[in-house]
């Protein structure tokens, strides 16, 4: 049956490069994470510089950890395990290197553009269109190389780890492309093709499945390779692998709308988000069981092995967050957790525990093998494990506490029917100590990472690198006789192309069922006559709002709760957002909601906003919002106005040609009016040409269309 024995070499160089990149970006991403953790209670740490302000550093942190740290972690593990599971070298060393350098260049471009304020304003998809195109290209290179390698394998069947790699490749490609449809305005500026409710549905279909197919499925694949290798025990259940794999990828794709519970999205889509999230518990736990029970008969080894300790905590963290996730998708729980730090705690159990610890374990296991030596210090690795685990607890527990506390304060009424804490700031001041504890927990975790780097460097120095690792395996024969009673799934495992296509079909179903009606059925977004497009100045102001990342701390979505209506005004309707390319609902309220900021209930004078942006603490003592002095120095990008309006018109915003032509003049006239009013209010240096004027115009517009309609 088996063909002649063939000798070949595994490419370890590409694994080494990706491992180094994982470590480097891990350090960078977590360092920026620490910065934002401190900035949130020490606003002076933005150094009054636009580049280092929370609205820009926070997206840098999330992008760096997800796409740079975990992204390179995925490539490290895939490039190592794929070759060995298929008994062949990667199909093309050149493509491997293009994958590597392309990805690193994208990360550098991402870091620079995010700090410089180029952003699409959509969470976890902030990168602008040229980078989006580059990501798609490099991702295709990765998939091409992987698939060509699969096709010339020496192993008849593909192992469960590779099923997960295939699902990851296909789904991430679909998610990234569909969510990134945007119309360029200039080289680094674009508007999302979708608006309001539809943009939100697409974005959270993407956002949730970035968690599913970038942070989860590839790492499950890595778990299926590295855990049995490290513990030297068989995988617990092949049957479970099959069931939980297909169930997981089919169900996951539907779950996105759980990010939009109690929002202006239609009820049916929220219902789908909830039920599919709940059904995800078992498929997720299938992965956890298969990981943990692979350790059966070898638990004593966990005591002695730092690698296994990291794996056990990683898989446990996976089990905890995949139980918590479905719970947070229940409307009654979500009403509490949404917009609070509970969400932040939840994602960090996943990021620090599951992704972080699995990566550390994998690299501790890999590096000695790549360098043909022993790990420099098991003691140091154990120290890393304990300080990292403790750090996680110090990180998460205060944030759970903070989230719950803040919710209780938000919703409390006095007997007289007043909000017990009408000033949002009181609820922030209350949880500041928890923010401080969180930053201590994060620092501990980071100290662990430093120990990790030292250990890796010392190990590398002591070893000698095996760039091309010798291996041998029989060639695959063209004829194959299937075994008796092999089951329905086994044949699929030797047909990777069919496997890929089936995966694609399975993941397209959920997205299609949710998105097609959301786009085609008009009743999903009832029109509100009074809602009009932004004026040219407001449009520019909105772009500043995006650029400064205001959505990182301020939502624009009043939920239908008595306490939110009392605090912010009537709950938000889907028809209010039809001209919002992109939508700006946000996902976290570090500051108050701004959807109705311009309405009588909340309206402040222009001068209040002017002074507040210059120094928030002058108007709102104790505020943790950073200062934005550059808005008072930088000129509004007036010349871009007609082009921006023209692109908006293409996307369906009803600007007429005359309005577009007169856009610049209209902008200047409105800016002059605001500046004059500011001067009348005693602000002497209110220069009509500065960005602050546009931002004030935008903030004062928020919520006013429907307010007018209500009065008529």
């Amino acid at each position: 049956m088996s063909g002649p024995l063939e000798r070949f070499h595994y490419d370890n160089r590409i694994v080494k490069l990706f491992a180094y990149a994982t470590i480097l970006w891990g350090v960078v991403g977590m360092l920026v994470g620490l910065l934002v953790a401190f900035q949130i209670y020490l606003p002076a740490l933005n150094f009054s510089l636009e580049f280092t302000t929370f609205g820009r550093t926070r997206p840098l942190h999330t992008n760096a950890v997800i796409f740079a740290f975990v992204g390179n972690g995925i490539f490290t593990g895939v490039y190592y395990s794929l070759q060995r599971l298929l008994k062949t070298r990667m199909w093309s060393d050149k493509l491997s290197l293009i994958n590597f350098w392309g990805w690193q260049l994208i990360i550098v471009a991402a870091a620079i553009t995010l700090l410089a304020g180029f952003t699409t304003g959509k969470e976890y998809a902030e990168l602008e269109w040229p980078i989006d195109i580059a990501i798609a290209g490099i991702w295709v290179v990765f998939g091409w190389n992987m698939f060509a390698t699969i096709l010339r394998r020496r192993e008849r069947h593909i192992y469960v780890a590779i099923w997960f790699y295939i699902a990851t490749f296909v789904t991430v490609a679909v998610l990234h492309i569909v969510n990134s449809f945007e119309w360029p305005v200039s080289f680094l500026k674009s508007y999302s093709l979708y608006a309001g409710v539809q943009d939100a549905i697409v974005q959270w279909w993407y956002g949730h499945n970035a968690v599913a197919f970038f942070l989860t499925t590839p790492y499950l694949g890595l778990m299926y390779y590295f855990v049995p290798k490290a513990v030297n025990r068989p995988v617990y259940s092949y049957k479970l692998s099959i069931i939980h794999f297909w169930a997981l990828i089919f169900l996951y794709i539907w779950a996105g709308p759980h990010h939009l519970l109690y929002s202006s999205t239609p009820g049916w889509i929220q219902t789908l988000g909830t039920v599919f999230s709940v059904m995800l518990i078992a498929p997720s736990w299938g992965g956890m069981i298969n990981g943990l029970l692979t350790l059966r008969g070898a638990w004593d080894r966990v005591r002695d092995s730092a690698v296994l300790k990291f794996f056990v905590v990683a898989i446990t963290a996976y089990g905890m967050s995949t139980f918590e996730g479905p719970m947070l998708s229940l409307k009654s729980v979500n009403a509490i957790s949404h917009f609070t730090d509970w969400t932040i705690a939840h994602v960090h159990i996943g990021a620090l525990g599951w992704n972080g610890f699995l990566t550390f374990g994998m690299i501790y296991w890999l590096i000695p093998r790549l360098f043909n030596t022993k790990l420099y210090s098991m003691k140091l690795a154990n120290a890393h494990f304990w300080i990292g685990t403790t750090g996680m607890l110090f990180y998460a527990i205060p944030l759970y506490w903070a989230g719950f506390t803040q919710y209780l304060m938000w919703q409390e009424f006095t007997a007289e029917g007043f909000l017990a804490y009408p000033n949002f700031l009181e609820t922030v001041t209350q949880i500041k100590p928890m923010y401080i504890m969180r930053s201590i927990g994060g620092s501990m975790y980071f100290i662990g990472v430093i120990l990790f780097v030292i250990n890796v460097v010392k190990t590398v120095r002591a070893g000698s690198f095996i760039a091309n690792e010798e291996a041998e395996a029989p060639a695959l024969q063209s004829t194959y006789v299937a075994g008796h009673g092999e089951g329905w799934h086994r044949p699929l495992e030797r047909k990777p192309v069919q496997f890929l296509l089936l995966t694609l079909i399975v993941i397209l179903i959920g997205g299609a069922v949710e998105m097609v009606p959301a786009f085609l059925v008009k009743s999903n977004v009832p029109t509100i006559e009074a809602v009009k497009p932004y004026t040219p100045l407001e449009l520019q102001g909105r772009d500043i709002y995006l650029k400064e990342g205001c959505y990182n701390c301020h939502s624009q979505m009043v939920r239908p709760f008595r306490h939110e209506i009392e605090r912010y005004g009537d709950y938000s309707k889907s028809g209010e957002y039809v001209y919002d390319h992109p939508f700006q609902w946000g996902s976290k309220r570090t500051g108050p909601d701004l959807a109705r900021e311009g309405t009588a209930k909340l309206k402040k004078s222009h001068s209040w906003h002017f002074y507040h942006m210059l120094d928030p603490r002058s108007m709102s003592p104790g505020s943790i919002m950073p200062r934005y002095p550059w808005l008072f120095a930088k000129d509004i990008d007036v010349s871009s106005t007609p082009q921006k309006m023209a692109v908006m018109a293409k996307l369906g915003v009803p600007y007429t040609d005359e309005e577009i032509k007169a856009g610049t003049d209209a902008l200047k006239a409105q800016a002059e009016a605001i500046s004059a009013e500011l001067k009348a209010q005693g602000v002497k240096d209110a220069d009509a040409g500065k960005e602050i004027i546009a931002l004030i115009a935008y903030l004062q517009r928020l919520g006013t269309d429907t307010e007018k309609a209500g009065k008529e």
């Binding site: 390779y225 068989p234 995988v235 039920v275 007997a415 029917g417």
Partner: protein, 216 residues
């Protein structure tokens, strides 16, 4: 690397279902799905079906209904509370208070909510100066109560009636009139509104009226 391929160890008791394939030395067991796991999965599917029937097909528990129920309940509770604790003060009936406790309460409110715009000494910045003789919307206790209660949205003065009780609004208005009126602090904001002589009568139109006083 010679030690790279360790033989997978076999545990007679645990590995009865060992399958005959291996990948890079990784073996798999053909164990059945754990029953508790399977029932958990069936349970969540059942939950999903029931949930969809209730929420989608029967239209129960919509967020609009939930809100309506919340508001109805709150209104009932408030009505009961008001029946036991009637409001005795509004902008027509309010009178200036001068007792130390009320003024201290007014000061506390002022120092918490008012000073960012009107400054701690009443000299004004975003909002007008309380210490000169010019007033935009009148300077009687009734005027101040009305402004605090309903706000002047056009000028950025928000309505406080959803945050302050009638007593608190009366106390802070009394505090402003007692503590600041006529003090003419140094460095105060330039005069706005009309010049008022003692007794609250406009003496002369020195400045054009800027804002509108809500007519209640």
């Amino acid at each position: 690397m010679t030690e790279h391929k360790p033989e997978f160890e076999i545990n007679e008791k645990l590995d009865a279902n060992l399958m005959d394939h291996e990948y890079d030395g990784i073996r798999e067991l053909d164990n059945s799905l754990p029953p508790w796991w399977l029932y958990l999965f069936y349970g969540t599917i059942l939950f999903a079906l029931v949930y969809v029937v209730l929420f989608f097909f029967m239209g129960k528990f919509s967020q609009e209904d939930e809100l309506q129920a919340q508001i109805t309940r709150a209104e009932q509770e408030l009505a009961e509370y008001r029946a036991a604790n009637p409001i005795s003060i509004d902008e027509n009936s309010v009178t200036l208070v001068s007792d130390a406790t009320s003024l201290a309460d007014g000061k506390a409110t002022y120092d918490k909510l008012c000073f960012p715009c009107h400054l701690a000494n009443g000299g004004g910045s975003v909002g007008p100066n309380f210490t000169d003789d010019y007033w935009l919307h009148g300077n009687t206790i009734n005027d101040l109560y009305r402004i605090i209660r309903y706000g002047v949205p056009a000028k950025g003065m928000i309505s406080w009636e959803s945050q302050l009780s009638p007593e608190q609004m009366r106390n802070v208005a009394s505090f402003i009139l007692t503590e600041f009126k006529g003090k003419n602090v140094a460095g105060g904001k330039a005069p706005q509104g009309d010049l008022y002589a003692e007794g609250g009568m406009a003496a002369a139109d020195t400045t054009a009226p800027e804002g509108e006083v809500p007519q209640q």
